[in-house]
Symmetry: D2
């Protein structure tokens, strides 16, 4: 393994002098609105000195009472119930789209066309075709664009990336990833929601969970050559929460797939919302010529690593490395070793990176995922659905 | 979960009276010859009272010096260098085939036709077609036949079987299994051996490791409807150990596959000999409507279990159960709880079962795998190879 | 185990109406200053609606340049280099003492006498005697006082507390706790610092790490009857960081102790800064009549639990419970299950509790530790030192 | 870490030529009789070529029917109900004492005086004084003597010993060991048995479980300077199994202690039979200047190891090493890596060593524990009881 894998310090040279402000417009005030806003609020003092200071200009949602409360809660200057009004606001320089999947494309494209930098939740769109319109619009507008594949910004994942890129693992043979949750199982009583409707969500476990591990496959291993998949919808009808009857579940509850990479590696990808006892169990293992890596999102501060030939052979074994040293990715900004960070911190790292790209005109890639990466993930999502339908290997043409 | 899942006590009613002897002929004196012989020698006093006492009649191998030494070491009455001589010996009632894959069919068939009960290492044969000839011969001869899928006889696996059969997990959604080893990686220096030649081995990781997890899929979940697979041979040429040049590796080093079960469950199966740091890493996870199970062969005495709704919800989580209580499968014969057993014990359980079937004319199935099960696993192995070739889902017709 | 153990929702009834502000003065801008300030900044929007909104009035430290920078970074209205000036500021209602141990007593007492509520880092003081002066001063002043034993506010620890208090574990037999770190080992190159000088620190591993597990012993199990201890200083002299020579280490690098509780339980307490590979390894195990609990700070979101008699016996074992459900302590304020939180969150919970106590005139105990608890921990710390000296059991008289 | 730590191959130079026989007399046919006999039966073919072939001459127990059955089961030539008859048999060369504690001294001394080599279960005796008489008798008789501290013969423990002895860990700072079981808890319904009576057992958890970890402390770290302890008897009266009323428990159910080693290291020792969920949980951690080791008997094939400075620092962490490679202690005799062994194998290793010592006139120490080691452990056991009584540190004078 090479010394000095050279992790990028997020917040660079601006320690002295004026730190610019970036006006933020946030679409969505629920789960993702909360997670992104928390990140914007922590960046100025935790990623210190930050590349820019996010100015919380406005937040947008359909329910006026709720969005007004959210504005008060988080300290946004104003709120909107129509995203067009938010985009019309000149103070907004960064448009953050945390809305449901069917509301990704139109606002993102409009924002880009209005010259806003755009940050968008994953999956970028419901289909690859839709994702491509977004990517092309953002590219044409010349704005910075990024899709919120936040697991790239887990310190252990960034470390894995640096190790693989440095050649420390040698040739890669295997990539296996599962993303297991349980919240659609019958005993959980989940009603019919937008995530279960193909029109609003595009797909189910594939787009929601699968997109994350597809992106990590791209990030860590590289281009995918082909996939084969089975999908299942275990519960086909669910009651609406408001008692207005039942709706048809039109997306996959789960998928399993094989994957062949262009570099010769093979692997499996699987995601489900029907794995009893698995809360947010994203587990990845990579086997290479010189070592292996294993990561579990539920133990977000750990990376299991095996090195071929480096250790005294009597005590070789997987190292359970606590990724929390000052020299670990992103950790110089946090706490002493062993004082753990969590899931929300990935957004702090990710949005700091985006601010850095905006202010210092840096490329979002390779550390972050831009709309092209969002499109690429969508191509694979579409291929999984097509393979499940045709029962054939689907070649990937990005 | 129901009380009293009713684990079979292996050694039953023969505590008093005469215990019959069964003459054993053992083909092979290396890894499997040692493992099976050890089991035969432990059965009389550890599975006490045993259903029968194995009498070690003869051992067979091609190298006379080595096989003579093995006979002395283990206490076999005699030895042979030609298996036909062993089968001709009337004292041999149980023929145990621990030879390489291409020597499974002919001796097993001849033994069956000579009226010997036949125990055969896995995979039963190089192809499903070959396996079928063995199954049909054994059936026609009216002898007992069993294939050494010994992991069915791990206490934790038997417990998993009983739990699933009792309905404790409800409907099954997912089965995922990997069997990872590392011994073909370049740094291990493994030469060209019979296991890497399609003529002698039939297939590579598929038949050697994959057959185990395919059999467990059959045992625990049931019939497979279809599979899709990729295979890889990462190192295509290897030197012979004797310095006589290099040979072509004509089998798979690794495979990944998706699997659809007839009961609606989906899953993944994967095996490789290129997973750095993984020694004998057979890991299975099953997710059902009422719970999940997870097993790792490297922690052979443990079963991780999650129950939906049974536990106080504040402390729900996977139970790390030590499978070593007197009421656990097979454990009444062993030690106090927490005094662990290992891999070799699976053969003690398995061969005790076979002796019980012979002496008491019991069915080898469902607890054990008979030649039909060996054939069924071979059908899936063939399908994996076919799918890797055709890039399509292959439907399973047993 | 009883249903509905009734975890307190932190932020209660103030959702509507005016939320009061509490002016904060923060002594210290390094590790603890950062951790506490981060908590103050997150409380208003994450513990929403908060019992009070912390107003960051002033921050204090000896280095003017550094403290001015900290004020800018965190948004304090002003800064001081003398804590007396901070206490003189009427806008400061809550004095937060994150200074070194020898600067706990005087500022805390002065603040209390000036009518400020006082929050103080642990250990409360260098000796029990000093701690008592602080407790008495705070009591006499009628202000709220709290010592930062933040691990009481780990969700898993709070859950452990509720379980034990509810009787779910029955009679307690054993409590064993270790707190292992490695940062004083020779290869780490740590210079002579205030923590290694008895005059400034009071003690070493005992006061720094031991105080945490002593407080958890008090919180979870109850009064201690007696202790016996050995201490060691493995490196007796260290160089000053500024090159001005070497200083004598006058505190313990490590201690081991036995502990007898008044309720009959016995246990061990140990802390060290010489445990290679242990970063922040605080591990606690409790064995009771009806079950066992195990917690590891490095896996802060997990609690291992064993229940006697509750589970199906075939699959009994320690439950690895992910403490991240909406019904788990403090979690209603955070993220969906499995989206982990970290070490910094303990301060958010803890300071929210303190604000709640101030605004709503609630008792700091039993959930939080007040100065009496700080004193009680100091009594045990002193007893450990005395026992190491006298080689006898020291009875605890709080 | 040094290369070539030089693990002793158990079965050495006797591959050719005549292998001598050693006549064995076994006192006890229950738990230990079974475990030792199993070892004797496996040695000839698994530790091949063995230093000697154990000849099972006789087995002894008080219940004639049971001991006769045991003789049949295991293949002993004869049986006795009085150990004096066994010792009088000239065919017995190795007397193996697996009886209860109060029957260790007299038979062992008589056997030694009759010129038999003596193997004795632990604890060697009920008190140090009694143990000394045994040691002196064996020494005077010039026979080989060994006490069954079988955990020295766990491959991972032997590896730990070699690593420490080679200096790989440098100076040792800490040793902590627990041995936790649960079988005396009320819900287990254990009746009054000889192990709970001071007259027959000597002590409780101290002699039964504590002796094991004391011996490992001696084996791995060295001489103990002093100890301090608390003991508890949680259930003071128990019913006899035969319904004849209740008896007083006169031994400790649990103890906790601190330990100071002569080399400056400090640690804790604890054992209990009241740890809910802990089956056979012997866990040891050692922290040294250059690394740390951790072992858990319930995962008998694993050793967790941390090396200071050896690994690439980004991925440092505890290695979970599977101790099952051909080059690991004792493993050349067993199976391919990852094919696990268990608890019973420790006796195979241990008794092979004793046979080797007998036949080749080798010293039992340092790999094995002789009666002096049994005495030394008893000295510490006595000191724990004395400290619990006097509430003082007791200095150890072996």
């Amino acid at each position: 393994m090479t010394e000095g894998t050279g992790f990028t310090t997020m917040a660079g040279a601006k320690a002295t002098g004026e730190i610019p402000e970036i006006g933020v417009g946030m679409l969505g005030y629920a789960f993702m609105g909360k997670a992104h806003t928390n990140a914007f609020k922590k960046i100025p003092y935790m990623m210190y000195p930050p590349p820019a200071i996010p100015r919380l200009v406005s937040i947008c949602g359909r329910n006026e009472e709720a969005v007004a409360e959210a504005a008060r809660r988080y300290g946004y200057l104003t709120y909107h119930t129509d995203w067009r009004d938010m985009i019309a606001d000149e103070r907004v320089q960064l448009f953050d789209n945390g809305g449901p999947n069917h509301l990704h494309a139109a606002p993102a494209i409009a924002a880009a066309q209005a010259g806003k930098h755009v940050f968008c939740e994953k999956p970028l769109a419901r289909t690859a075709e839709e994702a491509k319109t977004m990517w092309e619009a953002a590219k044409a507008a010349g704005v910075k664009h990024m899709v919120a594949f936040n697991y790239r910004f887990v310190p252990a994942i960034r470390l894995a990336y640096e190790l693989i890129r440095s050649g420390a693992l040698g040739r890669i043979f295997h990539f296996r990833a599962v993303y297991l949750q349980e919240w659609l199982m019958a005993h959980q009583g989940t009603p019919m929601i937008w995530r279960l409707d193909k029109k609003t969500a595009g797909s189910g476990a594939i787009g929601d969970l699968g997109a994350h591990i597809i992106d990590l496959a791209h990030f860590l291993i590289g281009d995918i050559a082909g996939v084969s998949a089975f999908t299942r919808t275990f519960i086909e009808e669910r009651d609406f929460a408001d008692g207005s009857g039942a709706g048809q579940v039109t997306v996959d509850d789960a998928f399993v797939s094989t994957v062949a990479f262009k570099n010769g590696a093979i692997g499996t990808l699987e995601a489900t919302r029907f794995a009893a006892g698995r809360k947010n169990h994203e587990v990845i293992e990579i086997n290479g010529e010189k070592g292996s890596l294993r990561f579990n999102l539920e133990r977000i501060n750990e990376l299991d690593v095996f090195w071929v030939g480096e250790d005294p052979r009597e005590t070789q074994g997987f190292h359970n490395a606590l990724i929390s040293e000052p020299f670990h990715p992103f950790w110089s900004n946090w706490w002493p070793q062993g004082h753990m960070i969590g899931w929300e911190h990935t957004f702090v790292h990710e949005l700091t990176h985006f601010l850095d790209c905006i202010v210092n005109d840096k490329a979002v890639t390779p550390y972050g995922a831009d709309f092209e990466d969002g499109y690429r993930a969508a191509v694979v999502c579409d291929a999984l659905l097509e393979s499940a339908d045709t029962r054939r290997v689907v070649d990937i043409a990005y």
